[in-house]
Symmetry: C2
Subunit: 393 residues, 2 copies
Amino acid sequence: MTIAQKISASMHGSSWVRKMFEEGMQLQEKHGSKNVFDFSIGNPNLPPPEAFSSTLRDTVDSCGLGAHCYMSQVGYPQVCEAIAGYLCEEQGVAISQKEVIMTCGAAGALNVILKTLLDPEDEVILTKPVFIDYAAYVDNHCGTSRIVDCRPDFMLDLDAIGSAINKKTKAMIINSPNNPSGQIYSKENLHGLGKLLEERSKAFGRTIYLLSDEPYRKIIFDGYQVPSIFKAYSQSIIATSYSKDLSIPGERIGFAAVNPAATYKQDIMNGMALATRILGFINAPALMQRVVSELQGISVDIHAYEKKRQLLCDGLADAGYEFVTPPGTFYLFPKTPIEDDVTFVQELQKELILTVPGKGFLYPGYFRIAFCVDDDTIINALPGFRRVMDRYK
Amino acid sequence: MTIAQKISASMHGSSWVRKMFEEGMQLQEKHGSKNVFDFSIGNPNLPPPEAFSSTLRDTVDSCGLGAHCYMSQVGYPQVCEAIAGYLCEEQGVAISQKEVIMTCGAAGALNVILKTLLDPEDEVILTKPVFIDYAAYVDNHCGTSRIVDCRPDFMLDLDAIGSAINKKTKAMIINSPNNPSGQIYSKENLHGLGKLLEERSKAFGRTIYLLSDEPYRKIIFDGYQVPSIFKAYSQSIIATSYSKDLSIPGERIGFAAVNPAATYKQDIMNGMALATRILGFINAPALMQRVVSELQGISVDIHAYEKKRQLLCDGLADAGYEFVTPPGTFYLFPKTPIEDDVTFVQELQKELILTVPGKGFLYPGYFRIAFCVDDDTIINALPGFRRVMDRYK
């Protein structure tokens, strides 16, 4: 082997999302980008809010000496303070800057948290359908993933989770609003999980941490709310980013926040500062830290995503597709009319419609449509969606 | 254990650089920042070049739709192309954009490279005095560090390196200009290393990679040049950043470049793209990628650092300190007049002078002075340096 065996193996079984995204780029070269309907990747198509652009300009204009220097590994104190202030309201508990660490997006946050928590052979529970990179993050830090099923409505299946917990369980990762299902775990569902994790932590005599990945928290519809994870379980850590709500995924800016009630809060914060350094992040990008600190509570126009959801759901329901209407995110996760989701997605691809098979989320029989695209892309793709469905009716 | 054992252990044996930096902040609170002489951390004190500031403003002004979106994991093609163009001249070999990947600084680059290359128990050779975080990077990816001595003039000791290579050796990391010694490995020294690695790769039937960490490449004095690593050894990879030469370490922007002559170039590039994603970097920060692509060959005013070096070296030589005058970087690495460098550094600290003991680089009997500080800090600290030396004369 010339490179690491794991990396070599992962390349061959690469992410379906990226695979479809790359095939899409090839199809666009061949057929012209207007003729290809790319629903493969969650790359937000809405522009950042005007407040982002003006704050970015103002922040750059006011850059003085030291504006781009190293700072504390956890981030600028005033940035952590601004975020803590906003989180108090969002989570409904008192949070201080000492519980917040700035990160290179949510993916950076999760790697930093897992590096801080996991000993070799520790297990981390994930739920299907699963954003498959979570398993890679766990493996990066020598942990093992244990992946359990969800309920048919994509809520957490507490029985399945309860059965999966054992003496090696160190953490669980949840993602709500969920990629790919769009589901938001209810307050009852989350508090049930909190109670379960508390009981099992006691039973096994070790803390089981709950990591809540929440980058879609602000992309919600129909008056739904995302319940507070800090109220649901004391040993919880939030990982999130501004990628989706400010449409700036390329800038890699987010944060982790530790529940102020967590028993070993200070150890975790110190560990995350160290992990940020040795994993090579060093600190979250300086300029963007200062920019997002001014934009607490701001997001892109959610109504625009709501309209896209409506266009897509109406069109697909009319064509005979079955799905749970997503209360959040910009993903729809319909059933495929045949068991083999990969074949179905390939049929869609012949219509130049790019989606991701459920298999890519370890959930065959479904497929994901990322509707963070132009309205016209949705409208013009609907006849193709219908033609493919008609073949299986 | 509530957090990972390795992280917990590392926190207790934390980096001396960070330790002194943090003690410095406490001393500054107590005595006022003007009265503390902080030479502990390599946080460049020169402002970024004017070209950086104007390019940053122009780049922000021209941000259009998609300016902050995800892009390819390796970075924007036009950015990689601009860097490849500059590298052709710097390295004296033909390099294309396909050999360049944008990273979150050099620390991000090294983690991405090591994740790509290392299988469990693979060994990586480091040389003392060593930037100790390299060992943590190797450990992150389940490798083992084998640390060898340098020559008394801080050049590479090829005999020591030759003795350390065995069938488990997968890579070697070098850093030139060197932190903390300030030494630049000569062309002869590097070509000798290249020859050695080539012979041993053949003998053991596996490629030994050479990772060259070069963030101080532009901070050189007295007409010294940093030789091309790509010419010295075919299986080489450069990791670097714009942190030091543009004074923007907080922005986390750098790149890795694979030698176009490397045998498994394409595997390495594909592996690094994957590693960038799964380690949680996803991609280097979008805006800063575009900014640095416009600033190829630009750097802060090196003469300002040269003046600081002169002030410091003249003053310390006069006080009786012994050192190799550094041809590059903003570090000086003098001998301590007593064997116990930690005690000596503590004595300096009583004079409110903060430096880092050689022990922090696994090289006791020396100490590091980061002279990327105001001229006045150097001038005003010299009497204290003299007083402490006088006690040991």
